[in-house]
Amino acid sequence: MGTTANERDAVTNGEPLAALLAAGVGAFALGLVVILHEIGLFSPPTLYEPSGGVSGRTTLAVILWLAAWAVLHRRWKGRRIEPGRVVMATITLVVLALVLTFPPLWALL
């Protein structure tokens, strides 16, 4: 007899943690793309001219986020993951993303 989703959730946490960590990875990816653009190292192509470069930067970050989510989901599905490091990594990635997208920082570089 197969296990129900509720029974699986009682012992595994891989899928929810994958979704939350992937959100952190996506946020950081956007911060990284933004800072690389601001220091002139890499600018994704503009996808919609009237909106300018932000269309390429945000689209690239969304693609990286979804890719990270797919990989993490696949690797952690049905597993129990130690949450401590995942929590710390997720929060750190989000904080870094906010720092990297903070305009006054760009002026210092």
């Binding site: 959730d9 939350l20 959100a23 911060g31 932000v54 949450p83 989000v94 906010l98």
Partner: protein
């Protein structure tokens, strides 16, 4: 057409800021309240399951509203905001970015506020989507696993702060240089 109360740009600005962004903000507040007050003593009982189901729907609505907010903001509102005025034009009222940048006291509204608005809401949308996935697909984990619940709550709280600030910046920008 000239005597319309609101222009199309103005209506899209209201949809972006009030309907979608404001709706998302209300939804995040309600989801946070639900997450903080949820009790996990018996996550299998009907009441707890109903609450988990409602929370799932609510967070999904928040995520959809945030994605629509950033998409409308980036692809509908932003182009007329950043349009370049013809050379020599002195009345910049139809060109919000140029109008803001023309004054030393308002330039920060683009250089700081709009630059943040260009990127940070996308972060909020990703965080809200992660939280919505957990709440809709793994409600039992959310109820039983304190780590998952705490991280989901933290990401939604960050979301709330980010959306609040970018909404406030939007109000400032629209007050000084509205899209008419």
């Amino acid at each position: 057409m000239d005597n319309l109360l609101f222009s199309a740009d103005s209506i899209w600005t209201m949809i972006h800021g009030i309907v979608l962004g404001g709706g998302a903000l209300l939804g995040i507040a309600a989801a946070l309240f639900s997450l903080v007050t949820v009790r996990v003593a018996d996550s299998a009982n009907a009441s707890a399951q109903r609450q988990a189901r409602y929370l799932g729907w609510l967070t999904m609505l928040v995520a959809v509203a945030l994605w629509l907010t950033v998409i409308v903001g980036t692809y509908v509102n932003f182009p007329p905001y950043r349009a370049t005025p013809p050379e020599g034009l002195t009345d910049l009222s139809q060109y919000p970015k140029a109008l803001i940048m023309s004054g030393p006291g308002t330039a920060w509204l683009h250089q700081f506020a709009m630059e943040i608005k260009e990127h940070v809401p996308w972060i909020a949308a990703m965080l809200a989507t992660g939280a919505a996935f957990v709440a809709t697909r793994h409600g039992q984990s959310l109820a039983r696993d304190a780590s998952v619940r705490r991280l989901t709550t933290t990401l939604l709280a960050i979301c709330f702060v980010l959306v609040s600030f970018v909404s406030l910046f939007g109000v400032f920008i629209n007050k000084v240089a509205p899209l008419d």
